[in-house]
């Protein structure tokens, strides 16, 4: 189940495997290394462009392509691995990334409130999650302390 901007959507992205030949068209989502090695080429083809980052991947090589990227997918190998909360915030603040920012991997409804506040606007959840409960969770305004740089408040 994919949620984008507070709605359940049908995913139009196609994940391109590392050893797969380049599909002729469509919105394509690449792994980090393949994307970095071919960014100039991929950026010139039509269709949506996306990349998946693992927590250890450096942002530097993708920074020149932020305006062209339509989707950055941040993968959470474990719930407890919180590195991508910082990645997301840096992308949205320091680097001004405007496109879709999607959380994938170990993503469950109980993390979404934290995720939306650092700038994620899309979530890939297991089909077992109750869609209505999830949507209520990401739609409702909640109370937070004042002293946090909060993307919900600054938006």
């Amino acid at each position: 189940m994919i949620i984008l901007d507070g709605q359940v959507i049908t995913d139009h992205w196609r994940t391109v495997q590392d050893d797969e030949s380049l599909p002729p068209d469509g919105d394509l989502l690449f792994g980090y290394e393949r994307f970095v090695a071919n960014a100039l080429f991929y950026s010139q083809r039509p269709g949506g462009l996306g990349v998946v980052l693992q927590p250890e991947d450096s942002l530097e090589p993708i920074l020149p392509w932020l305006d062209r990227l339509n989707l950055i997918s941040l993968h959470f190998p474990r719930v407890a691995d919180g590195r991508h909360y910082s990645t997301a915030r840096l992308l949205r603040t320091r680097h001004g990334y405007q496109g879709e920012l999607r959380a994938t991997g170990e993503v469950y409804r109980d993390q979404l409130d934290f995720m939306r506040r650092v700038g994620f606007n899309a979530f890939h959840l297991p089909e077992s999650e109750d869609p209505q409960a999830v949507l209520n969770g990401v739609a409702s305004p909640r109370a937070y302390p004042d002293l946090q740089y909060d993307l919900l408040k600054t938006a």
Binding site: G82, Y85, S86, T87, D110, R142, P145, D146, Q148
Partner: protein, 565 residues
């Protein structure tokens, strides 16, 4: 006391509802054990030896009488009638039922208390000097800064899934009673040459299995930059801290592996970015926070009050050991020693909580404070009420004169409650207190801090005690390693291991020997840790182990005790 904002109340209500739903899903089998674990930890809930343990936050140790009554209510209705104060100024309940925890949290929220971020890999409760703003000459009060950090840290979305837990302490100027150098991050209030407010920043301290004293990260941080700078430190840690090994994931390991200079460069770079893209000025925020702190209105007409008649006997002894001079004349600071032969260190019953809450209302502006040594204090007691307060405490068995002495034992719950412990700490604490019943001798010895941890995680902070005891795994029974000469104050020092571990039964004798040796060899007014430093650990070691060997050979266990006199 800080008067909570509207968002505080709303936040607590929402979080209780959220945790109620999470617990319901877990009990219904919709959430796995693995998925539920981080959620319950975020709400202070551990699974312990007998029952779940809930750790309730007492932000920087400040507690109102109503909040103490709220804790009494929880102790009565959901636990076995008592709670346990910890070395980090919090309180734990050890006998709850999992399914009732959401109700407990709802009850706590009624009095503005909660268990958010008291466990798990996040920024924990901020601690400070319990005597902040109370003693003569203590001009600055770190508590508004603690409150500011609390607001920044509470449910901070970027820093809720850190590599490991993160503890911050804030101390006032000149005398560090907040133990800054044993925290992940320590902030020491100070001024620059022009008198501008700021902090000295310490990083990478911590005890546990790999004890380190914090290193200085920045000699002077302008106060206005505090939030941005904290964000920078946490961001570097969140991104670069190790996540592959439980024991290597604290910030002290990152600082050690990068080196303080490299770590500092990374922080400065992250800080620069934050200043450019979303700075939050701290001083303006502090002014808003200060406006929500109520300060007690001391009665100037009490300034000349004297104790009349001149105290004698037990009352005089209690005054001497358990109270301190207040910065406002006509008042004193009153400690409540939560130790004793009938009491595990830090334990307080619901009945006692209610009486103390009434005492605080009647005589002390409804204010109480928890300490790092598992005691409480009544911060503002008029001199004219001292006798009555003492009488009430005495009836409760809470007037044992012994603050700061050997009998003021700090101990973790140990084998009796904790899954991690190697040794039983509570019976030993009791035996030690039993041994030292001569109050004049205790008073003569002065401040000697004794701390007992049941395992190398070191919850009782045995590394920074004058005499630290560490429970070790050995042949079934409870054995303890002795460490001497530690200190967490301005001159922080880690205690050093005296020699091979001793059986629990031998420990009181050994302590008696150590104290007698100290009493014989110290210079006038010389604190314990300095005597150890001056004459050397070795001389203490020889004294203790010679006697111990001798007593074993002659199978006179008691001889050690007598020889110590």
């Amino acid at each position: 006391m800080y008067q909570q904002d509207e968002w505080d109340q709303a936040l607590l209500r929402e979080r209780v509802a959220e945790f109620r739903d999470q617990t319901r899903r877990f009990l219904a089998g919709q959430l796995s054990e693995d998925a539920y674990r981080p959620l319950r930890l975020m709400n202070g809930l551990y699974v312990q030896r007998h029952a779940p343990m809930l750790r309730v936050a007492i932000p920087y140790g400040a507690l109102s009488s109503d909040q103490l009554r709220g804790l009494a209510h929880v102790a009565d209705h959901h636990d076995r009638g008592y709670g346990h104060f910890t070395t980090r100024q919090n309180i734990q309940f050890n006998w709850l039922k999992l399914e009732s925890v959401p109700d407990v949290l709802a009850d706590l929220a009624e009095v503005g208390l909660h268990a958010i971020q008291t466990s798990g890999n996040c920024i924990r409760n901020v601690t400070t000097d319990p005597l902040a703003g109370l003693l003569p000459g203590k001009v600055d009060d770190p508590r508004p800064w603690c409150e500011l950090i609390r607001q920044w840290a509470t449910l901070n979305p970027e820093f809720t899934f850190l590599p490991r837990k993160f503890k911050i302490a804030v101390s006032g100027r000149s005398h560090d009673r907040a133990a800054c150098r044993i925290h992940d991050l320590g902030l020491e209030l100070r001024q620059d040459d022009q008198g501008g407010p700021g902090f000295r920043v310490w990083v990478g301290g911590g005890l546990g299995r790999d004890p380190h004293l914090a290193q200085c990260l920045r000699e002077f941080l302008p106060a206005d930059d505090l939030i941005d700078y904290l964000t920078a430190v946490l961001r570097v840690y969140n991104q670069a801290g190790r996540r592959d090994h439980l024991y290597k994931s604290r910030i002290k390991i990152l600082v050690k592996s990068l080196g303080i200079d490299n770590f500092s460069e990374r922080v400065e770079a992250a800080w620069k970015t934050i200043r450019e893209t979303g700075s939050i000025p701290a001083l303006a925020a502090l002014e808003r926070i200060k406006a929500r702190f109520t300060t007690p209105e001391h009665d100037p007409s009490l300034a000349d009050d004297q104790l009349d008649p001149v105290p004698t006997g037990a009352f005089a002894r209690w005054l001497r050991l358990n109270t301190r001079e207040h910065r406002v004349s006509g008042y004193r600071v009153v400690f409540i020693l939560l130790k004793g032969l009938e009491r595990a260190p830090g334990d307080l019953t619901a009945v006692e909580m209610r009486v103390l809450a009434d005492l605080a209302d009647q005589h002390g502006f409804g204010m109480l404070q928890t300490t790092h040594d598992q005691n409480l204090l009544l911060p503002h007691i008029p001199v004219r009420a001292l006798h009555e307060v003492w009488q009430t405490l005495d009836i409760l068995g809470l007037a044992n004169p012994g603050i700061g002495t050997v009998n003021d034992v700090t101990a973790c719950p140990g084998l009796d409650y904790c899954n991690l412990a190697n040794a039983a700490t509570l019976p030993l604490a009791q035996q030690i207190q039993q041994r030292f019943q001569d109050l004049d001798y205790l008073h003569d010895l002065g401040e000697v801090h004794l701390k007992i941890s049941g395992c190398m995680n070191g919850c009782a902070h045995h590394h920074v005690a004058d005499i630290g005891l560490l429970g070790v795994e050995k042949q079934g029974g409870s054995w303890f390693q002795l460490l001497l000469g530690g200190s967490a104050g301005t001159e922080s020092r880690l205690g050093r291991v005296l020699g091979p571990a001793l059986q629990a039964e031998q420990v009181p004798d050994a302590i008696e020997t150590i104290l007698a040796f100290y009493a014989a060899r110290r210079l006038p007014e010389e604190p314990f840790a300095e005597t150890v430093q001056r004459i050397g650990l070795k001389t203490f070691k020889e004294t203790v182990y010679e006697k111990h060997d001798h007593s074993r050979r002659t199978s006179h266990h008691g001889s050690l005790a007598h020889s110590a006199g």
